[in-house]
């Protein structure tokens, strides 16, 4: 499988920071992060999510988000894109870290999902 994921936060720094945390343990995983409406403005934007999905080199994406409204924007972008996107309802930092570490280890998506199930939360 393609080693790849997408991380969407309301805040620019959170998205960038998660990417740095992940790079430490998963240098080969191709992560795209989107944070905030801009570097200073908090929010999530459907337009930039869709753009990031479309320009991402992979067709199979694992997606992580922080708050519910980010998920709704992500859902809409998913519907309008041809790519296969799986959205996980897990803590954004801990969930993305877990998935990236497993992707780096070459684990299947099913095995990743098995593990993510343990930290599923309502959000």
């Amino acid at each position: 499988m393609t080693k790849t994921g997408i991380i969407i936060s309301h805040v620019y720094e959170i998205a960038k920071g998660i990417n740095r945390l992940i790079q430490e343990v998963a240098g080969d995983v191709d992560i795209e992060v989107i944070g905030g409406l801009s570097e200073t403005e908090i929010g999530t934007s459907f337009d930039s999510i869709l753009e990031a999905i479309n320009k991402h080199p992979s067709d199979n994406l694992l997606a992580f988000y922080d708050l519910g409204s980010a998920k709704m924007n992500l859902d809409m972008a998913k519907e309008l894109s041809d790519k296969s996107i799986t959205i996980y309802d897990v803590p954004i930092v801990e969930g993305a870290y877990t998935a990236a570490a497993l992707l780096q280890a070459g684990v299947t998506q099913e095995a990743i999902e098995e593990q993510l199930k343990e930290i599923q939360i309502d959000k």
């Binding site: 929010g43 999530t44 934007s45 459907f46 708050l67 519910g68 409204s69 709704m72 924007n73 809409m76």
Partner: protein
């Protein structure tokens, strides 16, 4: 049957109302959220106004689709995808029927598909459900709109940002229900409802 002109008027009035009441919506949202609902919708309303002024719509579906996509792109937050989904869903329905109740029922459907909220979760859905029910029976009045809005006050939020507050969300009107109340008041004022 509903005329496209009255629906354009509807959206115009709605844009005016959220813009005029921007601070009020922000205040409601700052009580149980992040305080941006009025600003989000005002930004969206301005973009919609510009967008629809560019075209001369001869069918409802195209009009609703432009409104919906503009809201998704410009409003942001939770309400962007929610209102956006409502109008995109109405655009689809408009290809099959021009019955106002059926259109708005499709809109409600779009909101619920997107946000997964049911009645009683203290969201805009609690404004839409009674309004759609009233429309079906040709009984939509200002009172229906206002009553359902007030009822959100005693609800505990279990969806959206306000749900993080748990019991503390009780006692406040839901901002999205308030903006939806403006939407439906505008519908009455636009004369789109044949009473």
């Amino acid at each position: 049957m509903v005329e496209i002109e009255s629906l354009k008027k509807w959206i115009e009035l709605y844009g005016e109302k959220v813009t005029e009441n921007k601070e009020h919506l922000n205040q409601l949202d700052s009580d149980i959220g992040d305080g941006d609902h009025g600003s989000n919708l005002t930004r969206g309303a301005a973009a919609v106004k510009e967008k629809v002024s560019e075209s001369d719509y001869d069918n409802l579906s195209d009009f609703f689709k432009d409104v919906g996509m503009t809201l998704v792109s410009k409003v942001g937050g939770a309400s962007g995808p929610l209102y956006g989904s409502a109008f995109i869903s109405m655009a689809k329905q408009a290809k099959e029927s021009d019955d106002l109740a059926a259109l708005l029922e499709a809109g409600l459907d779009g909101i619920q598909k997107r946000g997964k909220a049911e009645a009683g979760e203290k969201t805009m859905v609690d404004e839409w459900i009674p309004v759609v029910a009233a429309l079906k029976e040709n009984k939509l009045t200002d009172e229906v709109i206002e009553d359902s809005l007030q009822k959100t006050k005693d609800m505990k939020a279990t969806k959206g940002r306000a749900s993080y507050l748990g019991d503390r969300s009780i006692g406040h009107i839901d901002p999205g229900a308030q903006s939806s109340a403006y939407l439906f008041k505008s519908l009455l004022e636009a004369g789109a409802v044949n009473g």
